[in-house]
C-alpha cells in the first residue's frame, strides 16, 4: 500500500513540475507593442566629413621614405560626428550626434532608433549633418507617409544614390 502511495506521490510531484514547465513555457501572452501602432526605425550608418583636408607632402620629406611607402598626400583619418534630426508631424523626436566608430575615430557614425507612432498619416522630415550643424544640413528628406497598424517603416541612407530613403 505504501509503495502505491509513494508512486502516486511521485506522479503528483512530476505532474506539478510538468505543469509549471508547460505553462510558463508559453503563458501568459506578452504584448510588446500596441495593436493600433506602427513603428518608424531610423537605421543609418554614415561617415562624417574628415576633420582635416588632405595636404600634399613635401618632396624633401619623401626622399627619406622607402619608395614603396611614399604617399603624395597626407590625409588625417579623424572624422566629424554625424548629427541627425528627425521630425514626425513637425515634432522633433530625435536630434543627436553620433561619434565616428573605430579606435582612430575614422569609421561611420551609427544610428539605430525606434519610434512607435499611431497608425495613420504622418509627415516625416529627416536632416543629416556630416559636420557641424551650423553649416547647414548635407542631406534632407521629407515625405508624407501612411502607416498601417503593425507596419514597420525604415529611414535609411543609400550610399550609392547618396540620399536618405524611406521604405
Amino acid at each position: 500500500m505504501k509503495r502505491v502511495l509513494d508512486i502516486l506521490g511521485q506522479g503528483f510531484a512530476y505532474f506539478l513540475f510538468a505543469l509549471g514547465i508547460g505553462y510558463f513555457a508559453s503563458q501568459p501572452t506578452y504584448h510588446p507593442f500596441a495593436d493600433d501602432q506602427a513603428l518608424v526605425k531610423l537605421a543609418i550608418s554614415h561617415p562624417g566629413q574628415r576633420k582635416q583636408a588632405c595636404t600634399a607632402r613635401a618632396v624633401d620629406h619623401q626622399r627619406n621614405i622607402p619608395k614603396t611607402a611614399r604617399k603624395l598626400m597626407d590625409c588625417p583619418r579623424e572624422r566629424h560626428p554625424v548629427t541627425i534630426e528627425l521630425k514626425i508631424d513637425g515634432k522633433t523626436v530625435f536630434n543627436a550626434a553620433a561619434a565616428p566608430s573605430g579606435l582612430s575615430s575614422d569609421g561611420r557614425s551609427l544610428f539605430y532608433e525606434r519610434f512607435p507612432v499611431p497608425a495613420g498619416s504622418h509627415e516625416i522630415l529627416v536632416k543629416l549633418f556630416e559636420a557641424e550643424t551650423a553649416k547647414g544640413s548635407h542631406y534632407k528628406f521629407s515625405q508624407k507617409i501612411d502607416l498601417k497598424p503593425g507596419e514597420i517603416a525604415v529611414v535609411g541612407f543609400d550610399p550609392t544614390a547618396k540620399a536618405i530613403y524611406f521604405k
Binding site: 502511495l5 509513494d6 508512486i7 502516486l8 506521490g9 511521485q10 503528483f12 510531484a13 512530476y14 505532474f15 513540475f17 510538468a18 509549471g20 514547465i21 508547460g22 510558463f24 513555457a25 508559453s26 503563458q27 501572452t29 506578452y30 504584448h31 510588446p32 507593442f33 500596441a34 495593436d35 501602432q37 506602427a38 513603428l39 526605425k41 537605421a43 550608418s45 566608430s101 569609421g107 561611420r108 551609427l110 539605430y112 525606434r114 503593425g150 507596419e151 514597420i152 525604415v154 535609411g156 521604405k167
Partner: protein, 523 residues
C-alpha cells in the same frame, strides 16, 4: 546577518524537502539531485537537438517550414523531440536556479566551495545564450521578437562595426549567411556550456552528475507526457515588415525581454552585470571561517590512501615518500581546499581509542579537534551516565555532527551526547571501544539527512564502514543490534527523540550485559 537570512529559509526548504522524502525516499529526492538533474537535462537537450537538426533546414526561407513539417508531419518523432528539446531546456533553467538557491540557503557556497559557486555564474549566462539562440532558429514571430530585441540589447555595447539590428530591418536585409551564423552559435555556445559545467565540478571529488536511475526514468516519462499533452509549436512565420504585437514568451528564458522593453538596454546590462558580480562576490560576504586544515603525522602515516579515498573535496593527495620510512607514499593535505571536516581522521586505520597513551596520535588529525579530544569528550560523556541513569534504563551515547540534528537539545535521562564536525570523523573503533568495555549499552549515530551530508560523504562512508563495505570497518565482534543510526536535518529534532525512544525500548529487549569476546566460550 547572513544567518538571519539563511535560517528561516533553511526551515522552509527542509520542510519542503521532507515532503519530497516521503514518496521519493532520500535516494531519489529530486531536491538532492538538482545539479545532476541539470546535467541530465543538458544531455536530453543535446540528444533531441541532434535529432531535430537532421530535419532542420538552415535558411531564412526554409527554417520555419522545416520546423513546421517536423512538428506536424512527424509529430510522433520530430514533434516529440522538438518538445523534449524545449521542455528539457526549460527544466534545466528551473533545476539550475533551484540548485543555486539551495546551495545558498544551505550555506554551501563559501569557503572551499567558492570556486564551484563562482563558476556557476558563467554557466547561467551560457545557458541563456544557448536557449535564446535556439528560439531564433525557428524563425517565427517569437524568433523575430527575440532576435531583434537581443540584437538591440547587444548593440548597446557598441562593439560591432555595424549595428546587429540592421540585419533585421527588412526581409531583404536578413541573409542565409547570417542565419548560418545563428545556427553555428546555437551549436558552439552549448559546447562552451558543457565545458563550463566541467569546470564547475572539476574541483569536486566524485561529483554527482547523473541522477539515480529511478529519477532519470521518471523525468523522461514526465517530459514525454508533457510533449504529448502540450507539444511545442511555432508562432506564425516571421515577417520583418511587421512589428510583433503578441508573443507567447517562454518565461524561463525570456523574462528579461519585457524588462528590456520597459527599461531599455542600458538598464538591463546594468542589472545583469551587477547581479552577476554580486553573486560572484557572495562567498566573501562574509567569508566562511574555516578552521585549521587537517595535518598529517609522518611517523603514523603508512600511506594506506584511505584518507585520500574518503576526502570529499580532494584535499588529500598521495605523494612519494622521502623520509626513509618503509612505505612508498605519504598523505599530503592541501590546506586551501581542506574543510576540516575530519572525515580523513575517521578513515585513518591508526585512529583508534584503544591505545593506552594519554595523548592519542593518529596518521592524520584535526588541529582544532584532535582524536585525543574526541576520546576525552567520549569518556567525559560516558562518565556522566551512572550519575544520571534511572534504574533499569539502557545507557546510550549519541554522536552528532555540527550540521545535522542538534544533539544538544536531547534531555533524555539515559542519554549522553558527543559532538564532532562530521559524523564521518568517527572511527568505527570508537563504537567497539564503548561497547566492548561496556561503557554504554548502545551507540546512536546522527548526522545530516541521507544524501544531504554537509560534508558530502560523511553519512555514506559511515554507513559503509558500519556494514563492512568500506575500510576501516566496524569489527565483527561488535553487536550490531546495539548500534543505531538516525539521519536528519537541524529541524528534525522530533525525529531523533522518537528514534531515541525506539532505541531505548529496543535495548531493553536485549540481554542486559554485553558479552565480551571469549565470554561465550568460557560459559
Amino acid at each position: 546577518m547572513l544567518n538571519n537570512i539563511q535560517r528561516p529559509l533553511q526551515a522552509v526548504l527542509l520542510k519542503f524537502e521532507g515532503w519530497f522524502d516521503r514518496p521519493f525516499g532520500p535516494e531519489w529526492n529530486p531536491l538532492r539531485h538538482l545539479g545532476a538533474l541539470s546535467f541530465y537535462f543538458f544531455w536530453i537537450v543535446a540528444v533531441s537537438g541532434i535529432y531535430v537538426y537532421i530535419f532542420f533546414e538552415t535558411s531564412v526561407t526554409g527554417a520555419f517550414q522545416s520546423v513546421e513539417s517536423m512538428t506536424h508531419d512527424q509529430w510522433y518523432a520530430g514533434g516529440i523531440m522538438r518538445s523534449f528539446h524545449r521542455y528539457a531546456s526549460d527544466a534545466m533553467v528551473v533545476t539550475t536556479f533551484i540548485h543555486m538557491g539551495r546551495e545558498f540557503i544551505m550555506d554551501r557556497y563559501r569557503g572551499v566551495r567558492w570556486f564551484t559557486w563562482v563558476t556557476g555564474v558563467p554557466i547561467i549566462w551560457l545557458l541563456y545564450a544557448s536557449g535564446i539562440g535556439g528560439y531564433w532558429l525557428v524563425w517565427d514571430e517569437l524568433a523575430q521578437y527575440l532576435m531583434i530585441a537581443s540584437a538591440e540589447w547587444l548593440d548597446w555595447l557598441s562593439i560591432f562595426g555595424e549595428p546587429l539590428a540592421n540585419n533585421f530591418l527588412t526581409p531583404a536585409s536578413f541573409s542565409d549567411r547570417m542565419f548560418s551564423l545563428l545556427l553555428f552559435l546555437h551549436i558552439a555556445i552549448p559546447l562552451f556550456l558543457l565545458i563550463a559545467c566541467f569546470v564547475h565540478v572539476v574541483k569536486i571529488s566524485r561529483p554527482r552528475i547523473n541522477p539515480p536511475r529511478g529519477l532519470a526514468i521518471g523525468t523522461v516519462l514526465m517530459l514525454l507526457a508533457l510533449s504529448l499533452v502540450k507539444p511545442a509549436i511555432s508562432h506564425g512565420p516571421a515577417n520583418l515588415d511587421k512589428v510583433i504585437t503578441a508573443v507567447e514568451l517562454d518565461w524561463y528564458y525570456a523574462l528579461a525581454y519585457p524588462l528590456f522593453d520597459m527599461w531599455g538596454a542600458g538598464a538591463l546590462w546594468l542589472i545583469a552585470i551587477t547581479l552577476s558580480v554580486f553573486i560572484c562576490w557572495l562567498p566573501w560576504m562574509p567569508s566562511l571561517k574555516i578552521k585549521e586544515a587537517a595535518e598529517v603525522d609522518n611517523l603514523n602515516c603508512n600511506g594506506c590512501s584511505r584518507c585520500y579515498a574518503d576526502c570529499p573535496f580532494g584535499a588529500v593527495t598521495m605523494q612519494p615518500r622521502t623520509d626513509g620510512r618503509p612505505y612508498p607514499k605519504i598523505a599530503q593535505v592541501d590546506p586551501d581546499i581542506c574543510t576540516s571536516c575530519g572525515i580523513c581522521v575517521g578513515a585513518c586505520p591508526t585512529s583508534t581509542p584503544f591505545r593506552s597513551a594519554d595523548m592519542l596520535v593518529t596518521g592524520i588529525d584535526l588541529p582544532h579537534f584532535r582524536l585525543t579530544e574526541l576520546r576525552a569528550d567520549t569518556d567525559a560523556s560516558l562518565a556522566k551516565l551512572p550519575e544520571i541513569l534511572p534504574p533499569g534504563s539502557p545507557r546510550i551515547i549519541i554522536y552528532g555532527c555540527d550540521f545535522g540534528i542538534d544533539v544538544e537539545q536531547i534531555k533524555d535521562a539515559n542519554v549522553v551526547v558527543t559532538r564532532l564536525p562530521c559524523i564521518g570523523m568517527l572511527p568505527p573503533s570508537f563504537i567497539d571501544y564503548i561497547l566492548l568495555r561496556d561503557k554504554a549499552d548502545g551507540v546512536l549515530l546522527t548526522g545530516c539527512r541521507e544524501g544531504d551530508c554537509y560534508h558530502r560523504f560523511g553519512i555514506n562512508w559511515t554507513e559503509q564502514r558500519l556494514t563492512g563495505e568500506r575500510d576501516p570497518y566496524l569489527r565483527e565482534r561488535v553487536p550490531r543490534e546495539r548500534v543505531w543510526t538516525c539521519w536528519g536535518a537541524v529541524t528534525d529534532g522530533a525525529k531523533l527523540s522518537d528514534e531515541i525512544a525506539a532505541f531505548t525500548e529496543h535495548l531493553r529487549q536485549l540481554p542486559q550485559a554485553i558479552k565480551q569476546p571469549g565470554q561465550e566460550a568460557a560459559e
